[in-house]
Symmetry: C2
Subunit: 339 residues, 2 copies
């Protein structure tokens, strides 16, 4: 593999001149430039980014640690990070943590060794120690979608509290009073905020939060199914606010199986992450989280930190898009796409 020195020899110049050809071409005489470019071409020279990074202390890499590439919500965030990074000439290491703190810690160590310039992370409730350690090495960090307090890092996330409140208010506006809630364990920000948003909306409407109607569990379709089935077996609510799509998928299955029509027999409002819900076309009330923007703006903030931004850590909240959804019409979509 040809090196700068090979190119220099071939072109009859010094390595410094070869360097200038790639980095300050205006500072090189035209005929010298031509000679060097020819040599580069002939030798198929490809600069060694490693050597460059070692010397310049800039690797042009950032990393995203997130739960899993297998979930559309996370990949949308990831795509936002990627696009922003690529636009700025950064390569992105994508690391699946599976929400496993041990895996996360291992990746953080690898990334430190690889001298990434910054880390975007969807932390778990157990990430504090790992993040502190990374910060000891002055590593710029930004938290996405979930937030751990007091680690001195920026965070960018959807306004889950406001979103859940808006969903609940929509249900209340339809005249429902006994509104139930289905959500993840409130140990970390989005789940906690959803619950708070729901409770707040109920309180503002002077309605009690019946503990029998508040169901919390791991955020999976199976749990959503089980919780909803249990809910239906008891004193049923008139409406249901659901904190995330995985629970919602299970809940809608359970409702369908029990012959409960949506929204005729029970109104359902939910955060809407994944296209899979398109198929459950009942008129859901949904809050769409700005996943792509979480990634994009998170990366933007991270790059700003890398560039030396010294402002105090910020917690940016992005608004959700709350709407009554009609079933998706593919022909309409097609027309819109081609129009």
């Amino acid at each position: 593999m040809a090196t700068m020195k090979d190119v220099a020899t071939r072109a009859g110049v010094s390595v410094a001149t070869v360097w200038r050809v790639r980095n300050e071409p205006d500072a090189v005489r035209a005929d010298t430039l031509a000679k060097v470019l020819a040599a580069i071409e002939e030798l198929h020279y490809v600069p060694d980014q490693l050597a460059s990074s070692l010397r310049s202390r800039q690797t042009g890499t950032i990393a995203l640690l997130f739960p899993t590439i297998a979930n559309a919500f996370w990949t949308t965030i990831a795509r936002g990070v990627e696009d922003k990074g690529e636009a700025r000439g950064y390569s992105v290491f994508l690391c699946n943590t599976d929400d496993d703190p041990a895996k996360e810690a291992r990746y953080l160590d690898v990334l430190l060794q690889r001298r990434v310039e910054g880390i975007a992370i969807v932390p778990t409730a157990a990430s504090a120690a790992a993040l502190q350690q990374a910060r000891r090495h002055q590593m710029p960090i930004v938290q996405l979608h979930r937030r751990i307090d007091d680690v001195g890092a920026d965070s960018i996330r959807a306004d889950s509290r406001g979103g859940a409140a808006a969903l609940t208010e929509q249900l209340l506006a339809l005249g429902h009073r006994r509104v139930g809630f289905l959500g993840g364990f409130p140990t970390i920000s989005p789940s906690r905020d959803c619950l708070a948003g729901y409770a707040g909306a109920m309180a503002r409407a002077n309605l009690p939060v019946e503990s029998a109607l508040v169901c919390l569990g791991r955020s999976t379709p199976e749990v959503g199914y089980a919780l909803t089935a249990a809910l239906l077996a008891g004193d049923r609510p008139e409406a249901l606010c659901i904190g995330n799509s995985r629970l919602a998928v299970g809940a809608l299955h359970a409702l369908a199986e029990a012959g409960v029509r949506v929204p005729e027999d029970m109104a359902v409002a939910t955060f809407y992450d994944i296209a899979a819900l398109d198929a459950y076309s009942p008129a859901l009330i949904t809050a769409v989280q700005p996943a792509y923007d979480i990634g994009r703006l998170g990366a933007r903030r991270l790059l700003a930190r890398i560039d030396g931004l010294a402002a105090p850590p910020d917690d940016m909240l992005l608004a959700n898009t709350v709407a009554r959804r009609a079933p998706r019409r593919l022909d309409a979509v097609g027309a819109a796409a081609s129009g």
Copy 2:
């Protein structure tokens, strides 16, 4: 940031000894080892992988170039690559090409500069030149899911031809004779192979392939919808074989909208990539492609090449899982998961 030299000074040894502590600890006396480990701890020393790579000529990185992280089929492949890579201590650069040859070429250049040790790629029909260029630099390459001939690179993919044949045969076994086909443009392997598999099965059954029943287009739900609508407007087939999930989603929408019941009014067989289809619970006949294994075995092959494997390029075909599908029952899934 502490360096090996800092650690050496602090521990009162040479850098060579520090190196040995991390790489050949058995060749170091116990008390020396303890001193050095203590110094590493105190200084929060993190080895610089860049410098290591520069010297040792090993970066411990591979790359995956694939269409987009926004599609579950590709991310399943990606996860296979990631898991295998991580298990072998490799970090993976994930690059979204959006099936854009220009973007692909740009990424390839970046990856060459970063001295990745190998590249797994889902090529486009226009990737030949870029692949040739990478091979000029002795870069190990393995093609995933799609295949371009004559680039001298391994390929790993599902047996789409066999899969489409099996799907078609299932429909024929149900007694159908006029079986239609919906597929992507046959410019590259999987789409071409699907068409060939369908045609082959029809031929073996001594049935004509009616050109009016063979619909090809870009693989999107919108196109699937439009092609199916057109098909229904003409002399309808009795059954439909569909080459991929995106087309199938659109087709099922069109069928539902036209009041055509599946499978009572029309039997449908399709490749099944994405969970979204779970919702279209009619009794489809499906072929599930081994996406994760494509990624896993592709990475395995790539790592073998990196390790110097000299065998001639191989084209590995993986079998699909063909089955009559019952609608998915979430409670059953839950039971299975907890059992």
